[in-house]
Symmetry: C2
Subunit: 278 residues, 2 copies
Amino acid sequence: MQKWFTERQSAGTRFSYAIKRVIHRNKSKYQKIEVLESKDNGKLLIIDNFLMLCERFEFTYHEMLTQIPLFSHRKPERVLILGGGDGGCIRECLKHKSIKSIDLCDLDKKVILASKKYLPFVASSLISDRVNIHFYDGYNFLKQQSKNMYDIILVDSTDPNGKAATLFSQRFYRIASKRLRKNGIFCTIGTTPFYESRLIRMIDRRLRSVFRYTKHYLAFIPMYQSGCWSFVISSDCKIPHNAINKMQIDHNSFKYYNKNIHRAAFALPSFYKKLLPR
Amino acid sequence: MQKWFTERQSAGTRFSYAIKRVIHRNKSKYQKIEVLESKDNGKLLIIDNFLMLCERFEFTYHEMLTQIPLFSHRKPERVLILGGGDGGCIRECLKHKSIKSIDLCDLDKKVILASKKYLPFVASSLISDRVNIHFYDGYNFLKQQSKNMYDIILVDSTDPNGKAATLFSQRFYRIASKRLRKNGIFCTIGTTPFYESRLIRMIDRRLRSVFRYTKHYLAFIPMYQSGCWSFVISSDCKIPHNAINKMQIDHNSFKYYNKNIHRAAFALPSFYKKLLPR
């Protein structure tokens, strides 16, 4: 009989993938980590019963979380990623030759180990010598451990509701804002505007209270609830709506991102615009 | 115990809504028709076990299928809708005062009756005196029954794989193209590019063989597989990427559509662009 992985979502919905087999199942100090092989959608990384990534569709998420801020900066050199232990955002950063160093800070070593072993399509990037991996809580890493300054800070975490809540606090945003170099950009995952408008408002309000400019953008993310996911980008410099990064980059390495998508991602449906201050 | 409506989708996925109760269940000559009340997402219209519309999210689908072609035409007056018996596209058309008459042609009277009775948020539009309803197969209606000419022809049908296959045939496109007035526009649902690239290629090839201009656009449609749905718009006149309809319209009536969304919808992710001829 066909086995299914089912994610229980908010608002009375659930989504299931047909599963071929369990590749890996483990518990760390922090969470339950599973890698499953699905029937038609590649491998799945599941943490505490929530789908983190699906091999077939992770490209839309990782490209859009990473490439929009990287192309909104003229010449990004130093990047910090909070969360993202699977390596997907690092893979996207490494496409930029201008980038000299990437700090990745993930709480859970076991996520990184599982990714390295079972999810090479994202995690093979983790061994690059431009990458430094740190095992800390992201908030404390930035507050106490690291003294580095960054051109780009990315939050690639789990939900604002759960363990990652500190990465969505106003205090954290204030700390992050002080670790940005001139023209630096902060970018965080949002959530789905179709179900979580309250959360989007909250993230927006907190970011606006810290940064001079805050903009939201959207992408098709079939692996997450509703298929529509928002990201929020903030800076003390004006954020262009177009790609301004003129460094040499191989655009054939993108399956989702392109210059038209960059501009279009900032067009918000009317119901979303109404969530935000004018 | 919680009851669920589960839609089995292609490629080893399924999507479920928590259900409060069955409002209506019936069989017509053509299909099984159900109206369910979901727990958090309003009423659902299900035909042959496939979700046709969900009250909470139908606005994205109906606005984007209807408003993009209507705003791409300077002054639409005569509209034909093939399928769309629930009335959602008609509701969107009626927002345009320039529109004098709408022919709606749906095969199944029982879909219209169920919609009128249980889905007033879409179907109350069906009683407008600008609307004429015809119960025919859409292909035969256009070929044999109607002699009218149209500014806009919309295909709001079920999947190209099923009963509606004739509405995706090259022969049908040829017939439709001859029933367009000067500057007339044809617009059809596509499908999800994340799962059905073969179908998108097929629709594109057939439309291109008939019309001088064919463009694809996308919208977030949380009620359909992957949440990403394509539409294809064709004409013998150049299709602008911006709204050119300057007639007086109340933009507050749109929950999704706006001028930025209009332009942005035509930006296709790189993997989608690769499906199409250059």
